[in-house]
Symmetry: C2
Subunit: 413 residues, 2 copies
């Protein structure tokens, strides 16, 4: 077994202690694998080493079966190049059923982030690109929203990604640098990464609790190209760090995580916003220079320097796809924000800056049954970054008065 997968390449080999620490975070504080659980892994080519390490650790913790679903972006490229347009939204029934069955059996779910071959789709017509949503499945949104599974996503560097993030470095150096950055933001370089995450998660959970107590009516973002008010629901609950499944298993869905987030009122978003980072939709496209105008909760204008059609296609997929399902705040204590690196990967970039998401809301981020019924529903959930040190964030109370929340990336509360 090679230490790195087929796409990793380069002369640099990930230090074994980092791979070991990441594996321990995945099966431990991340997905929190339970004895007797089935574990569903989504894997891409080049992720063999971490998949095998995680499977070994999962079985050692008592997992019943580790099931791998392979998603390969090269196969998707061949499909988008040749297949009939009318078939591009086809998903085999068993692929959908796998996800639903993982939910029904309260399985654990794991995936590894790291965009492979970022320029591969450049020769595909943009009007075809948005039609094949895989590896996204509407069933995974459903399973996630029902809190059926304990799940986590962690990054796993590959050479293509490293070269995209650090185009000016020689290949092996870029790969080494990306690994060092990932080790830093994932706290793999701490003496006890699990303890380091427990401390950080506690801080985030405390911030979320303070925001929930304020019972804000709305958030107001103001900065270059941005003047946006996002309404909240009466019982919007701010979340951070760990969550529980319906079976009471605590897990941490993203590692790293640096955000506090809640579900907005899908009928109240007004104004305009300019994305502060590019957005990479895995297996589809890179969206740059995104600007969005909202009216009464709906994204009524979606423009971009690049990739606007893709996002417009996704936002038209269903009724909820053009409304907000999440608003998240990230302060400058985030190691990802501190690194200054644009990773062009949503797991990392969304934790570098405040962001909003088109599409489905997490029902557990509202408290009342009435608000759960109002929170946004969609097949999609697409985060994009709107925060920076230049964007001020205020909380608005029901009486219209404002409370400063973030200035220059620093918490004011």
């Amino acid at each position: 077994m090679s230490a790195v997968g087929s796409q990793a390449g380069g002369a640099f080999t990930p230090p074994a202690e980092y791979v070991e620490a990441l594996t321990e975070l995945v099966v431990g504080i991340g997905a929190n694998i339970q004895p007797g659980q089935v574990v569903g892994i989504t894997m891409q080519a080049g992720q063999e080493a971490i998949t095998r390490a995680v499977a070994e650790a999962a079985y050692a913790r008592g997992a019943k079966y580790v099931d791998v679903w392979l998603f390969d972006v090269y196969l998707k490229h061949s499909r988008l190049k040749h297949a009939d347009r009318d078939t591009l939204d086809y998903v085999p029934r068993w692929v959908r059923e796998r996800m639903l069955q993982l939910g029904e059996m309260n399985a654990a779910r794991i995936s590894f982030q790291g965009p492979p071959a970022p320029t591969l789709m450049d020769d595909i017509d943009t009007d075809r690109l948005g039609l094949d949503m895989m590896p996204r499945l509407r069933e995974s949104i459903e399973v996630t929203m029902k809190q059926q599974t304990n799940w986590t996503i962690v990054p796993w560097p590959n050479q293509d990604w490293a070269t995209m993030v650090h185009p000016d470095l020689p290949e092996a150096d870029a790969y080494k640098k990306l690994w060092e950055e990932i080790a830093y933001v994932c706290r793999l370089n701490e003496e006890n990464p699990t303890a380091a995450w427990e401390a950080r998660l506690k801080t985030l959970e405390d911030s979320a609790a303070r925001l929930t107590e304020m019972r804000l009516d709305a958030l107001h973002f103001v900065g270059p190209g941005t003047d946006l008010t996002v309404g909240l629901l009466p019982s919007s609950r701010w979340m951070a760090g760990r969550m529980d499944t319906v079976k009471g298993i605590e897990y941490c869905a993203n590692l790293p995580t640096e955000e506090v987030f809640t579900a907005p009122d899908p009928d109240r978003a007004d104004g305009y916003v300019r994305a502060t980072k590019p957005l990479l939709i895995p297996g589809s496209a890179r969206i740059e220079g995104l600007t969005v105008r909202f009216e009464g909760g709906r994204a009524v204008e979606l423009n971009a320097d690049k990739g606007a059609e893709i996002l417009r296609g996704m936002a038209a997929r269903d009724d909820g796809a053009c409304r907000l399902g999440e608003v998240a705040l990230v302060d400058r204590e985030s190691r990802i924000g501190q690194s200054g690196t644009v990773f062009s990967d949503i797991l990392l970039d969304e934790n570098s800056a405040s962001h909003i998401a088109l599409g489905s809301a997490y029902p557990f981020s509202v408290e009342s049954a009435q608000d759960k019924a109002r929170a946004n529903v969609s097949q999609i959930h697409i985060d994009f970054m709107i925060g920076s040190s230049e964007v001020a964030v205020d909380g608005l109370r029901a009486d219209g008065s404002a409370v400063p929340l973030l200035r220059d990336g620093v918490w004011q509360v």
Copy 2:
């Protein structure tokens, strides 16, 4: 995309013209992919390059969707090492459903042969090994027997396999030599590999037709350690080369193929037989020095120098698992037999020598409805080689008279 997968390694890169020729055989004369078909591929780590090439060629021929199921022997090893014994026969429902759905939709199916990491399972208790049958699925036997899908299996060399076959050569040389052997036996080195296979398949199909016309009552194998009579059914039909699906799509299930085969009478096998080659059960074990005694069609004694327990476990899986479902004759025109190499891979080795199989019969290798009802049924189908230049094969007529069929590997009819 790397030219060879993560397990391939070595300094030798498979010549692009061989990969191209193999790809063309797979989607052409092999699986014969039709426009609009779904294509199910079973892939192992290290087979990314051929999987992507085949997917591209399949989509170019009009395939609707190419679905990959990853089987990884390292994950299986972790499972066998740690998981509860009682769970080792667990197969997720969606894995079974995938196979059944491929059958129902008359999909194409493709897999690549090449044993990875042949010694990986050496530290697993042999009594656990036979419990996890994957990647074998009883559903794939069912789909195959119903002729629902056009399918093919081809070899794809990897470094571990090359090192096992040629342990005395340096790694890269072993890998290069295995590739040259595969190119020879798959006729990739011919100017027109498809035309070369069409000619060879015609010869095999003619031999099969001659044998069917003889309406033999039984076959008699005599050689060192072997004196075995295998009864045939009244309408046993000898098959070779190409077959048709229920939808009338012609395909060639194995490339290379050098055998003519039929379904025996499951109640009439008597005598003893010594395997002439080792048998590698993928993801389980290597069975060496196998001897079997049959009585009234049943394998009543199964012994081996190594791995007997595995085979005994499989032969006890159901009522048909200890009876014969196939008898096949291979003459010395076989390029595989000529190469003199023991590939320790069933796709190749079964085409080097005459063989029999425990388990399910191919219903299309008998003609009458009455015989179809009598042909053997089982979840397993395990071929093992019993032929060599020292084993004489006679046909026995209903009146008891003998007709020499093979002497010193040469057809006598």
